[in-house]
Symmetry: C2
Subunit: 211 residues, 2 copies
DNA sequence: AAATGAGTTAAACGTATGTTTGAAACAGAT
DNA sequence: ATCTGTTTCAAACATACGTTTAACTCATTT
């Protein structure tokens, strides 16, 4: 089928270029050239560049949130009080992130970078789109997070949640770059999953910190 | 003197617009209009848009690193073993950040946002420029950081340092936005310094986390 | 075999960008 | 008052961008 092939090729090319250069810095011409399709194809199939950006995110985030949601489903059954530890919550996130790419390291790196960019380059329309699209899942998750941190004041919880988010977004966003530096400096290889493993105790300790 | 007035007006306008919209998304025309100067003035005084971006950063980072350096000078004398706690190091950073704006809240917010952007939107040339410009200060600082965390393996230290950096960069970068959300959600005001105060124990605990 | 309609294509459109130009305005020194 | 070097200015330049158009292809339907 000609249709979905072109659409897929555009999405594949777009996500790579967006991840590498950012949104504003990636032109439709570079995307369509890389995809081997005609320039007009983007506007024909997606309507606009904005819509293409949203489509790139949706392709990753839909399965990602499905995984999160089914984890939450499972734990609402197993633990009716909704009491999960921070480590458990972070663990589900790490596994959901690793999971969406189905073991493909290249796609995992791209997804991480896009997740980071969503927070840093998200110019208005992207933030609003993602907020509306995944609002329900987000709020469900926050219930668990609140219950996992009963000792925090609401404001402390708010800020620490975003400290955590920032650390994760930055790390994911610069994952490839940082791994390259590490390789240079220590001559040690480590996988994306290794980094996520290192990140979890750091974040959990931060959330639990006594003031 | 006509010269330095124009230069200053351009820098003032540029830093505000960069902080608000990012680098690629800010045109020279919007900068010169806001500054009330002729479009050609940017290329006349700075040479190019890239050079203007670098100049905006230098104006903030030079005094910032001077403050850090003089703190380190002081502590190399007082504590010849170079043994500072993480809390002390973070405290100097927080004070150096607050200090460069000289109590001006607006400039503080801009500086924080720019610091965040430097890590997230820094497209090649900016990163290289900053690395070369402040390499010596950075390496001096790392000596203190290494001594403050003797229990960490070099690789753990590497990653935790960047987890910390990410958290800080994200928080600074989105400071205004996050404070607005907090105001909406909890009807509580808090200052930029308050947030930096909250951030420190979070980071320190993360650095110290047991694996 | 003709008609339909979705998909593709090359070309053009209008606009916005960073940069350059050459003349005008201005300051300070001679 | 004249010269000199610097700064400002309106205008133009060349290029890149997202988007639109209209002709064309081609499988599917009638």
């Amino acid at each position: 089928m000609a249709h979905s092939d072109t659409v897929t090729r555009i999405l594949d090319a777009a996500e790579e270029l967006f991840a590498e250069h950012g949104f504003s810095e990636t032109s439709l011409r570079s995307i369509t050239t890389k995809a081997g399709v005609n320039l007009a194809a983007v506007n024909y199939h997606f309507g606009s560049k904005k819509a293409l950006i949203q489509a790139v995110f949706s392709r990753y985030l839909s399965p990602f949130y499905k995984r999160i949601a089914s984890s939450l489903d499972h734990y609402e059954k197993v633990k009716p009080d909704g009491l999960l530890s921070i480590e458990e919550i972070l663990g589900y996130f790490a596994r959901a992130i690793s999971g969406v790419s189905g073991g493909d390291r290249r796609r995992l790196a791209i997804f991480m970078r896009l997740l980071g960019l969503a927070y840093n380059q998200g110019q208005g329309h992207l933030r609003k789109y993602l907020q509306n699209e995944f609002k329900a899942d987000y709020e469900r998750l926050m219930v668990f997070f609140n219950k996992a941190t009963p000792e925090l004041l609401p404001q402390e919880r708010f800020w620490r949640f975003h400290f955590m988010l920032g650390s994760a977004a930055f790390t994911l966003s610069n994952m490839e770059h940082l791994r390259a530096i590490q390789q240079d400096e220590f001559e040690v290889q480590c996988t994306e999953e290794d980094v996520l493993e290192l990140l979890q105790p750091f974040l959990a300790a931060g959330i639990r910190a006594k003031k």
